[in-house]
C-alpha cells in the first residue's frame, strides 16, 4: 500500500500533467490521421525526449502509445480508412453503421468500448502486479531466453499465410543486431572494413526508416483522396447505453485483450480476431456482423485497447517486447536509463505503479477530450496525404539526425525507408524485423550468460519456467503445422 501511495507522488508535479496532456491528446490526433499512427510518432519523437526528464519523456510517449487507437477508430468508422492498422476490424461494422446514418452512435460506441478495454486492463494489471513481482525475479537467463524464443516463434506463426517471409524477416532482424563489434571477444562482425558499421545498426535508425520514412515515401508517391465527411447527429452518450446493453461482449473482449497482450508476439490483431469471433458466436443476430453490428465494434475496440497496458507486463517484468510499439517503448526505457526486467519490480515498484496510474489518467483524459472534440478532429482527417508525407519526412530528419548529427545515420535510415516501402508495397510485414532485432540481441546475451549452467542441451529446459515456456512453444508449433498441413490438403483437394 505504501508503494502505491508513494507512486502517486509523481502526480504532484505540474510538468508530469502537461506531459500526460500532450501525450494523450497528441496520441488521439496522431491516431486519427490515416497514414501516421503511433509507431511513426513514437519513432520520430523518441530522440526528442532524450533531453527531457525521464518520467516526462516516458509519459509523453506512453500517452501516444495508450491513446492512438482511440483516435484511429474515427476515420475507420467515418471514411472506411483505419487511422492505425489495428483499427481495420472496426471498419467492418463501424463504416456500415455510418452508411446507415448511425455515425455518431458508432463513434461513441467505439470510444466507450476503447475506454472499457483500457481501464479493464489497467485494473487487471494493478491487481496482477504483486503476483508479477513475485514471479519475475524467478526468471533466470535460460527462462528469458526461452520467453524471447517464444515471442519470436509467435510473431512468425501469427502472420498467417505469411509465416515463411515473417520467419525470414525475423532472422534478418536478428542478423542486423549482430553487425558491428561484438562485446565478448571484441571482434568485428560483418563490417566489411567500414568504420561506420563498427557500432552496428542503431535500433532507432532502423525503426525510423522502416516506419516513418517508408510511410512518408508511400504517401509522397500516392495520390490525395478527397472523402466526403458524414454528419454527426445524435447524443454523446448513445454509445454508452449501447455498451451497457452488450456488457458481456465488452467484458469478454477486454479479457481477451489482456490475455493476448501478456503473451509476447501476439498483440492486438489476434486479440481482436478471437474477441470478434466469440462476440459473433454468442450474438443472437450473428448475421449482422460485418453489416453494422454494435457488438462487432465493441469486440474490436475493447480488445485492441486492452492490449497496450497488458503488453507492458512482459516488457516491464522480463524486458521482452511483444510487438513493434513495445519494442519502441523498450528503447524509450533504455534511453532514460530504466532497465526493464525482474529487478525493476524488486527495486522500482513505485515507478511501475506510476506507469499504470499514468495510463489510467491518460484513458480518462482521452475519453473526455473525444466526447467534446470529435467534430474538430474531423478536419485533421482531411489533411492532404502527400502534404502529410512531406511533414513526416521533415520530422523523420529530426528523429534520426538528433541521435548523433550523423549523415551516415540518415543514409541508413533512408535505406531502411526504401526497404520498408518495398515491403509495404508487397504487403509484407515489417514488425518481424524489429522484433528480430530486439529479441535476437536479448537471446544472444542470455544464451551466452546461461552457458555457465549448461552441460547438455536439456539443461535449457529443465527449469520449471523454461520447461513450461518450451512446452508452450512445442504446442504452438504443433498447432501451426497442423493448421498448415490441413490447409495444404484442402488446397490439394480443390486443385
Amino acid at each position: 500500500m505504501d508503494v502505491i501511495l508513494s507512486s502517486f507522488e509523481i502526480f504532484l508535479r505540474w510538468d508530469v500533467w502537461v506531459a500526460i496532456l500532450i501525450g494523450s491528446v497528441g496520441g488521439v490526433i496522431i491516431g486519427a490521421i490515416p497514414g501516421v499512427g503511433p509507431a511513426v510518432a513514437i519513432a520520430i519523437l523518441l530522440p526528442a525526449t532524450y533531453s527531457m526528464d525521464p518520467i516526462i519523456g516516458i509519459t509523453v510517449l506512453l500517452g501516444i502509445y495508450g491513446s492512438a487507437m482511440y483516435g484511429g477508430a474515427i476515420p475507420a468508422i467515418l471514411i472506411n480508412t483505419p487511422g492505425t492498422p489495428v483499427n481495420a476490424l472496426t471498419t467492418y461494422d463501424g463504416y456500415s453503421m455510418t452508411k446507415n446514418n448511425m455515425a455518431r452512435r458508432a463513434i461513441t460506441l467505439a470510444y466507450w468500448s476503447s475506454f472499457t478495454g483500457g481501464i479493464f486492463s489497467i485494473i487487471a494489471l494493478i491487481f496482477m502486479t504483486s503476483l508479477i513481482a513475485k514471479v519475475a525475479p524467478l526468471f533466470g537467463s535460460r527462462d528469458i531466453l526461452m520467453a524471447a524464443l517464444l515471442g519470436l516463434i509467435l510473431v512468425v506463426i501469427s502472420h498467417r499465410k505469411q509465416s515463411l517471409i515473417a520467419g525470414f524477416l525475423v532472422f534478418f532482424g536478428m542478423f542486423i543486431s549482430t553487425v558491428g563489434m561484438e562485446s565478448v571477444k571484441y571482434s568485428k562482425r560483418f563490417t566489411y572494413d567500414q568504420s561506420w558499421l563498427l557500432s552496428g545498426f542503431d535500433l532507432i535508425t532502423v525503426l525510423l526508416g522502416l516506419f516513418a520514412v517508408s510511410q512518408a515515401l508511400i504517401l509522397l508517391t500516392g495520390n490525395d483522396k478527397k472523402v466526403p465527411m458524414p454528419s454527426l447527429k445524435g447524443g454523446k452518450h448513445e454509445g454508452f447505453f449501447g455498451l451497457i446493453k452488450y456488457k458481456i461482449v465488452a467484458a469478454i473482449s477486454a479479457s481477451m485483450g489482456v490475455i493476448m497482450g501478456i503473451i509476447p508476439g501476439v498483440g492486438e490483431f489476434l486479440a481482436q480476431f478471437f474477441s470478434y469471433n466469440i462476440a459473433r458466436s454468442i450474438s443472437k443476430k450473428p448475421e449482422r456482423f460485418g453489416k453494422g453490428a454494435p457488438e462487432g465494434i465493441i469486440a474490436a475496440e475493447a480488445a485492441n485497447n486492452a492490449v497496450p497496458a497488458a503488453a507492458m507486463i512482459p516488457l516491464l517484468a522480463l524486458g521482452i517486447p511483444g510487438e513493434a510499439l513495445t519494442a519502441m517503448m523498450l528503447s524509450v526505457f533504455y534511453v532514460h536509463s530504466i532497465i526493464p526486467g525482474p529487478d525493476l519490480f524488486e527495486n522500482n515498484l513505485d515507478f511501475v505503479y506510476g506507469l499504470y496510474e499514468s495510463l489510467f489518467i491518460i484513458n480518462i483524459i482521452v475519453m473526455v477530450f473525444l466526447l467534446f472534440a470529435t467534430k474538430s478532429l474531423l478536419r485533421i482527417i482531411q489533411i492532404p496525404q502527400r502534404f502529410l508525407g512531406i511533414t513526416i519526412l521533415g520530422l523523420s530528419f529530426v528523429g534520426v539526425y538528433t541521435l548523433r548529427n550523423s549523415f551516415v545515420d540518415c543514409i541508413m535510415c533512408a535505406f531502411f525507408g526504401i526497404l520498408g516501402y518495398v515491403l509495404k508495397k508487397l504487403d509484407l510485414p515489417i514488425v518481424p524485423i524489429i522484433l528480430g532485432m530486439v529479441l535476437g540481441n536479448i537471446m544472444e546475451q542470455k544464451f551466452r550468460a546461461s552457458q555457465a549452467r549448461i552441460d547438455t542441451i536439456f539443461d535449457y529446459v529443465n527449469r520449471p519456467i523454461s520447461g513450461t515456456v518450451f512446452a508452450i512453444i512445442v504446442i504452438a508449433l504443433s498447432i501451426h503445422f497442423w493448421v498448415v498441413w490441413r490447409q495444404y490438403k484442402k488446397n490439394k483437394l480443390i486443385h
Binding site: 526528442a48 525470414f168 511533414t391 549523415f407 508487397l426 552457458q451
Partner: protein
Amino acid sequence: MEKNEYQVGNLIFVIIVLFLVSFLLISIPYQTKWFDGVPLVKQPRLWPTFCITGMALFSLIYSLQIWQNYKIKGRIQSELKELQSWAKPLEFVVYFLLYVWLVPLAGYLLSTLLFFFLLTIRQGYRARSMLLISLVTGFGIVVVFKSLLKVKISSGAIYEYLPDGWSTFFMVYF
C-alpha cells in the same frame, strides 16, 4: 506448404533476397572470427551463422512457394514494371539527403523552410494557402524541436556571417 495470393513484384523480391543471403553466406568466414580453443557457444561466429542459416532456410522455402505461384499467375513484364515503381521514391530520398547535407551549412531553419516549400511545389500544390501552410509547418517544427525542446542539431555555418548578437541567437534557437 502455405499457399499465398501472388503479389506482383514478389519474384524480383525473392531474387534479391536470395542474392543477399548467398552473399552473406559466402561472407561468414571473412566477416567473422574463429578463435582456436574457445568453445563453440562462445565463438563470435556462431550467432551470425545461426541467423544467416535461418534466413537461408526460410528464403529458400519462400522462393519455392513464390515460384509455384508465379508460374500460375505471374508475368515478367508486370514484375519489371513493379521494379520500376520501387525506384519512384528514390527521388524523395535524394531530396531528404540533400536536406540533411544542407542543414549544417544553411542552418536548420532555412533548410527546413526550403525543404517544405520546394517539396510542396514538387508535389503539385500551387495554391498560396498551401504554400503558406507548408512554410508555417516547417517553421513550427523548427520552433518546437530546436527552440523549445532544444534537440541536438548542428547550427548552420551560415550563422557565423551574421552580426554577433544575431549569430548567437540563431545558433541557439534555429
